[in-house]
Symmetry: C2
Subunit: 534 residues, 2 copies
């Protein structure tokens, strides 16, 4: 019951919903008291509060009360229903506890999220999830456009395909999913300034079909960025601009298949999304354990795969850094014609000292290197870069050409300006300070609200991994219990192949400190609510 | 010799090079008279003009005189070399004729293009072409980053793989390649205004990982656009935003393979680029003839393919419109579970009457529909849309997700505003008027300079197809001769599978009237320069 007492505070704390439309401050008009044709005569004797809460919850879930709707004042609704005001305020309180509504000060009580599985399609929301009856043979994780977000049920599916997107599509009050930087800090002014300069200076030919490798100015700027921030020396001709690391993995997957490589070693634990990307590309995965030194290169060698995908600068999700000895072992392994794919997804976010140089900086000939602006600026820009050894460059450019003929030009040119002007580095320094403060808030909150949890990883990145010394705990149950309370986090088991201790992967970069603190508090309450923990 | 007399006029006519850097008005500083360590003593007796022209041509070709370089005034160079001024002006005249330099008024004589095959890499230019020694098995058309543009040699390759990109990467003076709208008319002011509004209104969550189908606001705007302009009724949930028709074909190709379809019927003649896209996706192609009524549906049926890609509104490259009877035949064919892929690439550009409705408007259940802003606004934006029948939507969304997790957000949101505000329709009306005038200029020029050519197609689109009643003429030779004179066009045979009369595919939308007229004049001269025509 502690969770209720805690989450009760949330509406008055002014916590913001993660949903975009509500976050924009777009709050719909208040619905009238007849808004749901409520008939109190249907309520069972002595069960008016539960009945009203249930009716409201259903209406939120099935879209009759969409996010942003203002509920009637409790006094007004009580009068209309001929019930005491206490019945309404208690029903509202229950919905607030489960994260569906929130007090918004003088705006009243507003629908902020629909975490319970709704029964009818919700329009125009990111929606996806497993579709058992998909007609497409061999296609994993088809989404179900127009179908409802699965809510906490996403954690109960035995099938992990599509779960990341399904969770992403599920509304919540506080989002502690990993992998997203501080998006509120997006440098809108600098972006618009750069866009104005780009539009003033760009020639008509730049609007035509271009180089599939990307705009020359961005490729030059990326070379400078990688030299300054990642210790990589490269030539602009070696850089292929891609639509994020996801596309880079897709292109490389095709390339490796053409070379006869159908099995790729991956870190375990490691990114579920990256694994799914490779599997969709037709690859079998060979899990390789990760320990405090990073990827176990001996196990990699024993596994017999000819290619490996890894995150050496800041392993996802454990946060460990591939140590010097392992690096030498890995490069030794790779020297024998093997393929190393370096996913350098968040290396710029190191808090205690400069990030370790990229593997690519040590061995340009053997490493396919992928990075992006997703953790620097925003994932929604869909811009990244891929550097491959010279003998694979032609095939990568061909794959990129046939994928989409190249990235969109204006975003590329704006990014080039932001990199060249120093605006992007200023932005990175700015968000790094914010991220570090948020990490410290999360560390303190974990210590307070999850006292039995172990925290892993280096002082870097945008997330923490915590594990629990409780073999009976199922972390998917914990994540489901948290989402029922409006807080989203990744169960560690999602990112595992082999079994291991339960845990959570917690992003701290995206939201403000009070949300982090409240979110971790809700996690603690969710943990205590589970049968094992009682 | 007529071509020389004609092209001699070009520098003084102020024609602009197609190259972006020069088109931007960025003209480099004048090089000094010692710029190439020219030693006139090396010139053979009586061959000073040819020697000087050759030295200059080599310097342009190998990058010592990059595009934008101002040459010394003829008087200055003549003094330095101790030759008469006539030697220098005649050498300059020869380079102007072959399209490498041009008079730019008070800016002097400027290097505008390097159409001859240079001997050393040219940095940071769109470069690609066939690489015979590529290590990638089964990968067609690997580009050769850093290698020189092939110049007119591109037309002499027996292998058509990669030729479109290789031609695109070759500099020229006048570009009559098809498929590019009036890029100088890009609505920069409206774009910047929309971008400002987008940046002011977008919420932090919109910068995160989003819906792989694209931004809801753009999907809604596309639905309105298709209803107003293409007679298509759709729901935003059915629209998948893609990176142009190229990506749409890639996603559909994967889908069809998963359904067990490995052969796709295509129009012959038809787009070489689209064919290459499907072939890269692992499909065998079944050519189907096109006549005055469009695709021969009887031949399609006889070919036995279960899927067809076609351009019904304005066939590429012939320009014919699929007539009513053929439409009914095609829909009858498709009703039997077949797949119709409608590439609606330039249907909005109809000059004599409103465009015919899309096939998709007649049969939403059987038609996969792809369109883009490439011909409306600019190919470099890389934004299009794909509508598929409901039973294929899940698989398409999955394919798009794994391709790149969705298009970049800002371009999508700006486009949505431009569509919703009417700015895009205003722009379309504006460029349609300009395109029509340019088409009329080209028609007159073809009549004057290519008197034996037949013009094909409807009053629509951005290009003309012309054919020649001369079975001995090789249109690739004609295109090569034209490119040697600085004018780029597509030989019709590139877009054919079965042999047929020689011809050219000529884009008229991208450049101003005087370039169109001069370009066609050069084509006429190139035609007369060929052995057969003499």
């Amino acid at each position: 019951m502690d969770v209720m007492g805690r989450s009760k505070k949330s509406p008055s704390q002014g916590s913001k919903p993660a949903d975009a439309s509500a976050a924009d401050g777009a709050v719909g008009g208040a619905v009238g008291s007849d808004f749901l044709q409520l008939d109190i005569g249907q309520a069972p004797p002595g069960g008016r509060i539960a009945w009203l809460a249930d009716r409201l919850r259903s209406a939120v879930a099935d879209g009759r009360l969409p996010v942003g709707t203002r509920l009637p004042a409790s006094r007004v609704l009580a009068e209309e229903l001929h019930v005491t005001r206490g019945v309404v305020t208690e029903a509202y309180r229950r919905l607030a506890e489960s994260g569906q509504i929130a007090g918004r000060g003088r705006l009243g009580t507003v629908v902020v999220a629909a975490p319970a599985a709704p029964r009818s399609p919700v329009r125009d929301r990111p929606v996806s999830g497993p579709a058992p009856g998909s007609p497409t043979a061999g296609s994993p994780a088809p989404s179900v456009p127009g179908s409802p977000p699965p809510g906490p049920a996403v954690f109960r599916s035995a099938d992990r395909e599509g779960v990341v997107d399904a969770l992403r599509a599920t509304p919540c009050r506080i989002d502690l999913s990993p992998g997203v930087p501080d998006l509120a800090a997006f440098p809108r002014t600098a972006w618009l300034r750069a866009e104005r300069a780009v539009l003033a200076g760009v020639g008509p030919a730049d609007f035509g079909y271009g180089d599939p490798r990307g705009a020359p100015s961005l490729r030059r700027a990326v070379v400078g960025w990688l030299a300054r921030n990642r210790g990589i020396r490269a030539d602009p001709d070696e850089v292929v601009v891609v639509a994020g690391v996801a596309q880079a993995l897709g292109l490389l997957g095709r390339l490796l298949r053409e070379e006869g490589i159908h099995r790729i070693a991956v870190e375990d634990p490691g990114s579920l999304g990256a694994r799914q990307q490779l599997e969709y590309g037709g690859h079998a995965l060979v899990p390789v354990p990760v320990d405090a030194g990073g990827l176990d290169v001996g196990a990699l060698r024993a596994g017999g795969a000819r290619a490996v995908l890894l995150t050496p600068a800041h392993q996802f999700p454990t946060g460990v850094v591939l140590d010097g000895e392992r690096r030498r072992e890995l490069l030794d392994w790779a020297a024998d014609g093997k393929v190393v794919i370096e996913d350098d997804y968040d290396a710029e976010h190191r808090y205690d000292r400069p990030p370790v140089p990229a593997l690519r900086s040590l061995m340009p000939e053997g490493v396919c290197y992928a990075g992006s602006v997703s953790k620097l600026l925003a994932p929604a820009l869909r811009v990244g870069w891929l550097l491959v050894p010279p003998d694979r460059l032609d095939a990568v450019v061909t794959a990129k050409r046939y994928a989409d003929l190249g990235n969109g030009i204006l975003t590329q040119l704006v990014l080039a300006r932001l990199m060249d002007s120093g605006d992007l580095e200023r932005h990175l320094r700015h968000v790094r300070r914010r991220h570090r403060r948020r990490r410290d808030v999360m560390l303190r909150a974990v210590e307070e609200y999850l006292p039995g949890a172990r925290v892993h990883g280096a002082a870097a990145g945008l997330h923490l991994m915590v594990t629990f010394d409780d073999d009976g705990l199922r972390d998917v149950d914990l994540a489901a219990a948290a989402l029922e309370r409006g807080v989203k986090a990744h169960p560690l088991s999602w990112h595992r192949i082999a079994p291991g201790p339960p845990g959570l992967v917690l992003g701290y970069a995206a939201g403000p400190a009070h949300e982090i603190e409240e979110g971790v508090a809700v996690l603690g309450a969710a943990l205590r609510s589970l049968p094992r923990a009682r």
